[in-house]
Amino acid sequence: MSQDLLQPDAGGLYCAAGDFWIDPLRPVPRAVITHAHADHARSGAGAYFAAREGLPVLAHRVGASGNFTAVDYAQPFALGQTRVTLFPAGHILGSATVRIESEAGTWGVSGDFKRAPDPTCAGFEPFACDVWLSECTFGLPVYRWPPTAEVIDDILEWWQGCREAGRPAVLFCYALGKAQRVLAELDTRATGPAWLHGAMQPLTEVYRRQGIKMIATRPVSEADKGYRFAGDLVMAPPSAAGSPWMRRFPKHSAGFVSGWMRIRGHRRRRGYDRGFVLSDHADWPALVETAQDMRAGRVITIHGSGEALAGHLRESGLAADCWNLRASLQADRPA
């Protein structure tokens, strides 16, 4: 292979044979978007290609006036000299992995993905490829997720404890994806309403309109003035921690739902009382297993600390290296 099919560019990946970018962070003519998180989807692209289920959220994030093309999972379409297919990534609603078939072989690209089941989105589907570009957010063997049901048990037990103590239970998590996954997991196991921070409200509505079943929710802004949320569950994005908004929840207990909570120090330095280890990313065993499932001879780690995973895969006989997509943003900045 003299020239790789994909090159890091514009903070994402550029495919010259198809003349399109995957998850670029700067405006480009044609972008294939794996999912709507801000480190993958930005406004300003000339045209967007994304999974049909992911378009409503994407439009909410990058603006409804964009030029969107809805793509069905597993339905190939042509871009330039290549044939592109999106598959479910299991990360959030409408998230996708990208298969690119070309004369230079078949490449698979993950945005973010996970293998654990998630009631809000279709599960990850492996496909065969020659080169697999794998995200690597949690690319160390210390990251191993407990079963989701156990984590939900822990959250319910904590909420129950807060109820008995008459304290608000404030649960921090990312506003897109994680919040809705938790609300969906709680749907059959608890009675609401759960209160939502303003940043979560519209996204949760988008999910509901797409038929995702979640526990009843109400925006915090609708609560009566002076209401103290004693024993209630309140969901908020991490950016709300330590903000004046938190004064509405006197004596609250603070929990954070994230894969990072696997490490005690990460929780303690943010001052959360409780950390719940639930991630929308693959853990270490899933990263290794997926690299095998894709049957690729070469793996390139992207998005995160990929050196350890690449080293480990090399020792197991694969060709593997680590690409830093962010660096491609700096390279063409004027010196």
Binding site: L140, P141, V142, R144, S253, R262, I263, R264, G265, H266, R268, R269, G271, D273, R274, S305, E307, A308, G311, H312, E315, R326, A327, Q330
Partner: protein
């Protein structure tokens, strides 16, 4: 181990002081006294000597988890806590055989490792790793590796024990002083009601610590009610003369007998039943010597004649806590000082740290500014009516230290921190100009806000030049103002100087590397230090 792990979980799952105290009280009330004694020992910061070296632990964990050693090392660098890293890497336990209680775990399993050969130790540790899971395994690793910081201060433990015993927390603090063995009977005595003779003659009183004065001294009110003293740059110590014996305790509760024979000899003249608070100083002919000389004495358990001659020491007494066998800590300072003078009249070889004469607060700033040339750290301000309290209590005793030295240094190396800073680059090395080169002069860990740490961490990750294990060299771009307390010539450092207690004052984003200070600037400060 199970109840102790449950206590740990409760402590770890809250940031509220009251919830922590409540958890401790519940534990001390219900736990087996033998287990509780060890819990007190660990939670108050005592540790058992390391039983297994960490290299072996990493290798065993690598084998047990089927990972190459380098991946264990990378994981450790990321997590920043070896006990936790090993716990996270090991496969889930075979549940079934319950863990022993804490006392049995320490006595029968951990301390037993000391007598075991390499293979026995390996098998014993692997066996425990298979048996334990969750917090139990994490705590087992913590005990194995020695360190034990779980977000509980000695003060909190003391308050909880006082509640359980129904006595004042200063009595618990006193009972926790000195040397003791963590046994069921010790714990029984710890939580027993007050009695006349529960304190051993060797046991020191808890130290009263001054708080830093942040406002001007004028805010303290009438100057006549206050005594000013020099703040000595030595080792805070308590000198006990009871039942014909002398005991010298450091503030770190280390018995220092044997290290300072000249002080012990001088103390023999003290009346019996006498306890003094003061400072051990390197001292010659009415003058303090630099702290560096005292450091030579600290490490020597039995100093020889040459050390005694090169680095002579003196005890400077400034308070009297016990006189004629009576605890006089509740008496006002002025009264205690009278008892101090009586005691010292009998022991002329001990020195008195005297009061500084002043009429008006306005005289103090100049005195404080003279601290450095006098070889002291600044001033102490003590209310003449103050009792001798326990621990750091604001209001009666203040320390007013001289302004630190500062310099502007360039960040050249960074290394991940530990504990709550794990996974973040928070241990920094700073350099100054030396001709064309940058020469490292200080390491610093503290002084930046969390937001600054986060920002600098991201910058370090994307501007790494080289890696040496966990250490990264970065492009020399960022300049920081660093503060430090003192400077000494050093043959062990490449720069030829050693700084005391360097810390970051602020991030000087307004300065470029060319604006940073030079080694010559720092060397000039050497002349200001007492020779």
């Amino acid at each position: 181990m199970k109840t102790f792990a449950r206590l740990f979980d409760r402590l770890d799952r809250t940031t509220a002081t009251n919830a922590k105290i409540e958890a401790l009280i519940d534990y001390f009330r219900s736990a087996d006294p033998g287990d509780a004694a060890w819990a007190v020992s660990f939670l108050t910061g005592r540790r058992i000597k390391r039983l297994v070296n960490t290299r072996e632990l990493r290798e065993w964990a690598a084998a047990a988890s089927g990972l190459p050693l380098w991946l264990v090392e990378d994981s450790y660098e990321h997590v920043g806590d070896l006990a936790e890293t090993l716990h996270l890497l090991l496969p889930p336990a075979d549940t079934g055989s319950p863990a022993p209680g804490l006392a049995s775990m320490v006595n029968d399993h951990l301390l037993a490792l000391r007598a075991a050969d390499d293979d026995q130790r390996r098998r014993a540790v692997l066996e425990m790793w298979r048996r334990l899971d969750g917090s139990e395994r994490f705590l087992f690793n913590k005990l194995l590796t020695g360190g034990f910081r779980v977000g509980v201060s000695k003060r909190l433990v003391t308050r909880a024990l006082a509640e359980v015993a129904g006595v004042d927390s200063s009595l618990i603090a006193h009972r926790l002083m000195g040397r003791w063995q963590p046994t069921a009977s010790f714990f029984g005595g710890l939580v027993a009601p007050q009695s006349d003779d529960d304190i051993d003659p060797a046991v020191p009183y808890p130290f009263f610590l001054a708080a830093p004065l942040e406002d001007e001294p004028e805010t303290l009110g009438e100057p006549g009610a206050w005594q000013a003293e020099w703040k000595w740059d030595g080792i805070r110590a308590q000198l006990i003369r009871r039942a014909g014996q002398t005991y010298v305790w450091s503030r770190g509760e280390e018995l220092m007998n044997g290290r300072f024979p000249e002080i012990e000899a001088a103390a023999e003249q003290l009346p019996d039943g006498c306890v003094l608070d003061g400072e051990i100083m390197a001292w010659r002919a009415d003058k303090p010597l630099p702290f560096a000389l005292l450091q030579r004495r600290i490490g020597r358990k039995k100093p020889g004649p040459k050390t005694l001659a090169d680095a002579p020491v003196a005890f400077l007494a400034y308070d009297c806590l016990e006189s004629d066998g009576q605890d006089i800590r509740t008496q006002p300072l002025a009264m205690r000082l009278r008892q101090l003078d009586l005691a010292l009249a009998a022991a002329p070889d001990l020195r008195r740290s005297g009061a500084i004469d002043f009429q008006d607060w306005a005289e103090l700033p100049a005195l404080r500014a003279s601290a450095r040339e006098r070889g002291v750290e600044g001033l102490m301000l003590k209310h003449l009516d103050s009792p001798y309290r326990v621990g750091r209590k604001r209001g009666d005793w203040w320390k007013w230290k001289v302004e630190p030295y500062t310099f502007d240094g360039v960040l050249i190396y960074a290394q991940p921190g530990h504990g709550r800073r794990s996974g973040l680059f928070t241990d920094y090395t700073f350099a100054v100009h030396d001709g064309e080169a940058l020469v490292p002069v200080a390491k610093a860990y503290s002084g930046l806000s969390q937001a600054e740490i986060d920002r600098l961490d991201r910058w370090i990750r994307s501007h790494t030049r080289e890696r040496f294990g966990p250490v990264r060299s970065v492009e020399p771009v960022h300049v920081f103002e660093l503060a430090f307390e003192g400077i000494a010539a050093s043959r062990r450092h490449k720069s030829g100087i050693a700084l005391r207690f360097p810390r970051i004052h602020r991030w000087r984003e307004d300065l470029s590397v060319a604006d940073a200070d030079s080694l010559a600037d720092l060397q000039r400060l050497l002349e200001h230090e007492p020779a």
